[in-house]
């Protein structure tokens, strides 16, 4: 039922409510968009309108020169995308298997390495793709891998990834989460900003682009953690592994690497 007088200007409640709300908004906006920015050099350097725009959150660059998006990426050129994680077609797997004959010398006939080269069997496809692209673009150093990767086409890389993802993973019986696991694997070290291994590398969660490391050769894991720590390997796009490894001690690197490497010899399905 329309109530007579509710919206009438002569209704004191209506008049005062509307006027007070408008005054409150204008005052708040005046302070938030004009007065406060005026005391900040960053905001007010380019005049009133620019300062209002900045306070409103209009995107702008803080530095002169080309926008950051146009500068060459530092860590990697690969942008991880969920589409990279999809299973390959059987054609792709077949082609990948043929191409993979080039890889067997180090990575094993079935993708399980007998030396200190990483296992590729069952590796997530986006991991293989990213690393091959990174070798190609010299974002990750390895004279051997650079030579092998530089002639691979986009499609070759996708096919290799599909083939290795198709093979079974090196793994052991399911892990029980108890005190027998190294602390860094289970809970990380919160005060050093080290996240637990299992929150990205499988166990609790598996993040896109994080490799499957169960059963990896111990020497390989130690070498990679040391390279991340020293900053000689720097193709982790968000600096996540360099940040983790930076404050790890030698003993911790040994412990974590042994843990992940030991799982394979503990009697897994190879």
């Amino acid at each position: 039922m329309p109530e007579a007088g509710m919206y009438s200007w002569s209704n004191l409640w209506f008049r005062w409510s509307v006027v007070s709300l408008v005054v409150l908004i204008l005052l708040a906006m005046l302070v938030g968009f004009v007065v406060l920015p005026s005391v900040h050099g960053d905001f007010s350097a380019q005049g009133l309108w620019a300062s209002i725009c900045r306070a409103a959150g209009v995107p702008s660059t803080w530095v002169d020169g080309p926008p950051t998006a146009e500068r060459a990426p530092q860590a990697t050129n690969v942008v991880l995308d969920r589409s990279m994680a999809r299973d390959g077609t059987s054609d792709a797997v077949g082609r990948g298997a043929t191409l993979a004959l080039n890889c067997t010398m180090c990575h094993g006939a079935q993708g399980i390495s007998g030396s200190d080269a990483p296992n590729l069997s069952g590796q997530y496809p986006e991991v293989v793709m990213k690393q091959l692209h990174d070798y190609k673009a010299r974002k990750r150093d390895s004279p051997i891998m650079l030579a092998l990767a530089k002639n691979l086409s986009e499609r070759d890389i996708d096919d290799l990834a599909a083939y290795y993802a198709y093979l079974p993973k090196a793994r052991t019986a399911s892990t029980t989460y108890d005190e027998s696991l190294p602390a860094l694997v289970r809970v990380g070290a919160p005060l050093r900003n080290i996240a637990p291994c299992i929150s990205c590398h499988g166990g609790v969660d598996q993040k896109l682009g994080a490799p499957w490391i169960e059963g990896m050769p111990r020497g390989y894991l130690v070498a990679q953690l040391q390279a991340f720590r020293a900053g000689t390997r720097r193709n982790d796009s968000e600096v996540q592994m360099r940040n983790v490894a930076r404050s790890m001690t030698n003993a911790e690197i040994e412990e974590v690497s042994s843990f992940y490497a030991r799982k394979a010899s503990a009697g897994g399905e190879r």
């Binding site: 039922m1 109530e3 007579a4 007088g5 509710m6 919206y7 209704n11 409640w13 209506f14 409510s17 509307v18 709300l21 409150l24 908004i25 005052l27 708040a28 906006m29 302070v31 938030g32 968009f33 406060l36 920015p37 905001f43 209002i52 900045r54 306070a55 409103a56 959150g57 209009v58 995107p59 998006a69 942008v79 991880l80 995308d81 969920r82 589409s83 989460y177 108890d178 005190e179 696991l181 289970r186 809970v187 990380g188 070290a189 919160p190 005060l191 637990p196 929150s199 499988g202 609790v204 969660d205 598996q206 993040k207 896109l208």
Partner: protein, 540 residues
């Protein structure tokens, strides 16, 4: 009560049983984090528990209580049968179905995203479908409240709407507009990503849309409590409501100001402009006005009760209050927790002070104190008040209720004060594991033990609540006293036309939302850089 007894009872029972389950999870969470127990060693189990605890406590419990209480008020205050009882049952079953779907998904570990919808973390689509069903069920309630009020107004042209119903419908409209933000976020951004239709999501826009719902939802939780303050407390302790008009002013101020202030949750988010952050902080300060009005009015009403009982003097009347009355105890505890929580809230909403406590355990302490403490305590009281009407039982044991209320108050203070302290010391919230063996943290270990003890006291209180409600026995032959709401100190006063309807206030609420959210939403929606890869939880 005419028709809605079973309906209201169903809402309350499901709410309190889910509540008890979530309470067990909450106590467990504090226990495993404390030095009293060895750590579970799997953070995912902890986050799964947090997700379930939060989903039940934030969405299921308050929604069912507001709905059930709303239906009860419609019949008790308007003194006519509820229109649309079948629709109300439909809404109830939607809430149940949604809760069940979300619960199964959470239990399977496919939704450990901590009950807040912050992409790019994305849960299984079934979790979001479950939450959407809960919200859609509550929208049925919103529509029914509006329809019932309209029908009553048609029958009683020009009469002033009873205060309880006025607050109830204000809460319904508030919720309808509040839920739009998260509904848009889930339907437009999250579900397509969760279903795998898109690989990227506009995380910045999603966070802003969630903030639309995230803050105002607390005033939806709060409405039933404020209705109890105004329309039940003065009667229950033998006093009069100091001012009916003040109650209406408080309700409409909540309607206008609770909505467009959520960006104070995003003070640390770079995608929102500093100007809008300030405006939202200023508007958040305005929400303290209806709360201060309420505290004043209820204290004045309590003073009337004391004076009627022969209390004298400036403060001497406090001694004359009926302290053996559970409602007196509950409203006192509720105000104490509201006071601490409100003071903490003013720190949270201050643009600069927020920096010191942003995303720390302080925030967890704050919302437990003010919601689980001040607000939920009054949910218990409204259940105790309504129980004889709903079940025909004899008056409940005031002794047991007093114990329950005391336990809840003490447990909540013991739980939340250490959280505030460690928050100030910098302990982050939402961490599954704190290494208290580390020398830097060792001195804080006692705070978790204290909070765990608080958690168990709260669990005992929750069990007692369900025990009291479950053992209430029907009285044969005897009639239950008709339910009454508080009488105003000056009954029959004129209700201004503006405070007898919602048109003006709803218009102001929508208008203010457009002013405060319009630009940030439009700007972020058109920003290509705001799209980031989706991170599905538990998909591998």
């Amino acid at each position: 009560m005419f028709q809605a007894k079973r309906l209201v009872l169903a809402h309350f029972w499901v709410a309190f049983i889910a509540f008890l389950g979530a309470l067990v999870l909450g106590a467990w969470q504090m226990y495993v984090r404390s030095p009293l127990s060895t750590w579970v060693n799997n953070p995912e189990h902890y986050y799964r528990s947090v997700t379930a605890h939060g989903t039940v406590m934030a969405y299921v419990l308050p929604t069912l209580i507001a709905m059930g209480f709303g239906y009860a008020i419609t019949e008790l205050a308007l003194k006519r049968p509820l229109l649309g009882v079948k629709w109300a049952w439909g809404g109830f079953w939607l809430v149940i179905a949604g809760t069940a779907i979300a619960a199964v998904t959470m239990g399977m570990g496919k939704a450990s995203v901590l009950y807040t919808f912050y992409p790019p973390m994305i849960a299984s689509p079934f979790y979001y479908l479950g939450v959407v069903l809960v919200v859609v069920g509550s929208w049925v309630w919103v529509a029914l409240m509006a329809i019932n009020l309209r029908a009553w107004k048609k029958e009683n042209p020009g009469a002033s709407v009873p205060l309880a119903m006025f607050g109830n419908v204000a809460g319904a409209y508030l919720w309808a507009w509040t839920s739009v933000g998260a509904a848009v976020e889930v339907l437009v951004l999250i579900l397509p990503a969760s279903l795998g239709l898109t690989d990227t999501i506009n995380a910045a826009l999603a966070r802003v849309l969630f903030s639309w719902t995230l803050h105002a939802i607390v005033y939806f939780w709060l409405m039933p409590t404020y209705i109890v303050f105004y329309t039940i407390v003065p009667r229950a302790i033998g006093g009069r409501l100091y001012s009916d008009t003040m109650g209406r002013v408080a309700f409409v101020l909540f309607l206008v100001f609770s909505m467009p202030i959520g960006i104070h949750h995003l003070f640390a988010d770079p995608q929102v402009g500093a100007g809008f952050k300030f405006v939202h902080a200023a508007m958040t300060a305005m929400v303290s006005v209806p709360t201060l009005l309420t505290v004043f009015t209820i204290v004045a009403s309590v003073e009337i009760a004391a004076k009627l009982r022969g209390g004298k003097g400036l403060f001497g009347w406090v001694k004359a209050l009926p302290w053996d009355n559970p409602m007196m105890l509950a409203v006192t505890f509720s105000f104490i927790m509201l006071g601490f929580g409100g003071a903490g809230g003013i720190i949270n909403m201050s643009y600069q002070l927020n920096e010191t406590i942003h995303n720390t355990q302080w925030v967890t302490g704050h919302f437990h104190l003010i919601f689980a403490g001040a607000i939920v305590l009054m949910y218990f009281m409204l259940a105790y008040e309504l129980w004889p009407q709903l079940t025909g039982c004899a008056p409940l044991s005031t002794g047991l209720i007093r114990v329950q209320v005391w336990l809840w108050f003490v447990g909540m203070m013991v739980l939340t004060m250490p959280w505030h302290l460690v928050g100030l010391l910098g302990a982050p919230r939402r961490m599954a594991y704190y290494d208290y063996t580390h020398p830097d943290l060792h001195s804080q270990a006692w705070t978790v033990t204290a909070s765990a003890i608080g958690g168990f006291v709260l669990l005992a209180s929750g069990i007692l609540l369900v025990y009291i409600l479950a053992t209430a026995r029907r009285r044969d032959g005897a009639t239950v006293e008709p339910f009454t709401f508080s009488r105003a100190a000056h009954p029959g006063g004129h209700t201004p036309v503006a405070l007898n309807g919602f048109g003006l206030w709803v218009a102001m609420m929508v208008g203010l939302t457009l002013v405060n959210y319009g630009y940030p939403i439009a700007q972020l929606a058109s920003l290509a850089e705001a799209y980031v890869p989706v991170i599905p939880i538990g998909s591998r």
